[in-house]
Assembly symmetry: C2
Homo-oligomer: 197 residues x 2
Amino acid sequence: MATRKSERTRQRIVESANRLFYHQGFHNTSFTDVVVASGVPRGNIYYYFKSKDEILHAAIDYRLERIRAMLDGWSGTYRTPVERLYRFVALLDDTAEALTQFGCPMGTLNAELGKDDIELQEHAAQLFELFEDWLTDQFAELGYAGRAHELAIRVMAIGQGISMMTHVHHDTALLVRERQRLKRWVDQLAEGDDSCL
Amino acid sequence: MATRKSERTRQRIVESANRLFYHQGFHNTSFTDVVVASGVPRGNIYYYFKSKDEILHAAIDYRLERIRAMLDGWSGTYRTPVERLYRFVALLDDTAEALTQFGCPMGTLNAELGKDDIELQEHAAQLFELFEDWLTDQFAELGYAGRAHELAIRVMAIGQGISMMTHVHHDTALLVRERQRLKRWVDQLAEGDDSCL
DNA sequence: AGCTGAATCGTACAGTTGTCCAATAACATC
DNA sequence: GATGTTATTGGACAACTGTACGATTCAGCT
């Protein structure tokens, strides 16, 4: 297949660019950076993407797909909504080092794009919506049908807050501490204790 | 006085640059942008600041001073820690439109700088510390001496989370809703109800 | 008025940016 | 093997970047 190898080249570009955008930020990542990191020459990159913005769009699509797969995986692996919420909270631990060093990949990207580029930001906002929809389902299944979406937003906000503070202070202990608190909050909700809503 | 006018020029540069850095981001703001926005010619800017980084340092100092003044003002105007905490929470409303459009000035700046530039980011982190120290004082005075700092961090995290979600979704209603919840949380603490800690 | 240093201004510079293109290679299909 | 499509390559491009500097103007002092 001819598409096989070309697909791999495209993928190599997207993955390299995606990593760079996360580690250095979009505006602070030059085209040459992508060339060096991916090992794909300039011209060939422009064969696949006709602008730097398009590369970012592709990187966001790549992230969207991975997140979708991850959430589907969780939905398959864990049967109860509480277990699934636990899994979500544990995400903070999985990515602790990266979170401390570079911040939340979704949050920092949206923060950067939200400043100027509306089109790119709206695309990046879908990353959030993916999580929010999934969380909404879990809360609905938990019995909070009417407030499910509101709770989903709240959980995301807490996660973003923790990520930001951890990143700002380069303090992983902070992350661990606040993550435990978030888990306890989920516990309360699971027990039907909505006094803290 | 000779220093008078020169001080005003310097200030004009700093204020223009500060606004641009907030609205467009640091890396996405060019030197020429600062020249145009401030109306001060290139050469003259370089008389005051010998690099773009130095302008940002000055802009951060400018913000630090303003925040310090604001917090001191609050400490003077409001006598009880609860009133002061209320005032802090109300900050989310004061800056609602800007928050929706550009995100939290401190958060987005730190998110951007944290990626690459350690020196600048550590300076920007002082913006957070200013708030945290002030909040710590309020919580200590409220009777949560041992956990005052932890609570301060938590309030900041909640604020950052709300700001981020509002910015991502361009949804001011979200801001209002979550702000009310934050206020209720403060109410609980004020009543000595620490069940939600 | 004359001097001095601070402040202002425009321009020039070398390096980097994102973008484009024409030549070439590899491939698939007949 | 011939042909048309897909993929690859490196270099060239104009525009813009942050930085530097010499020439000029201004303010304060004797």
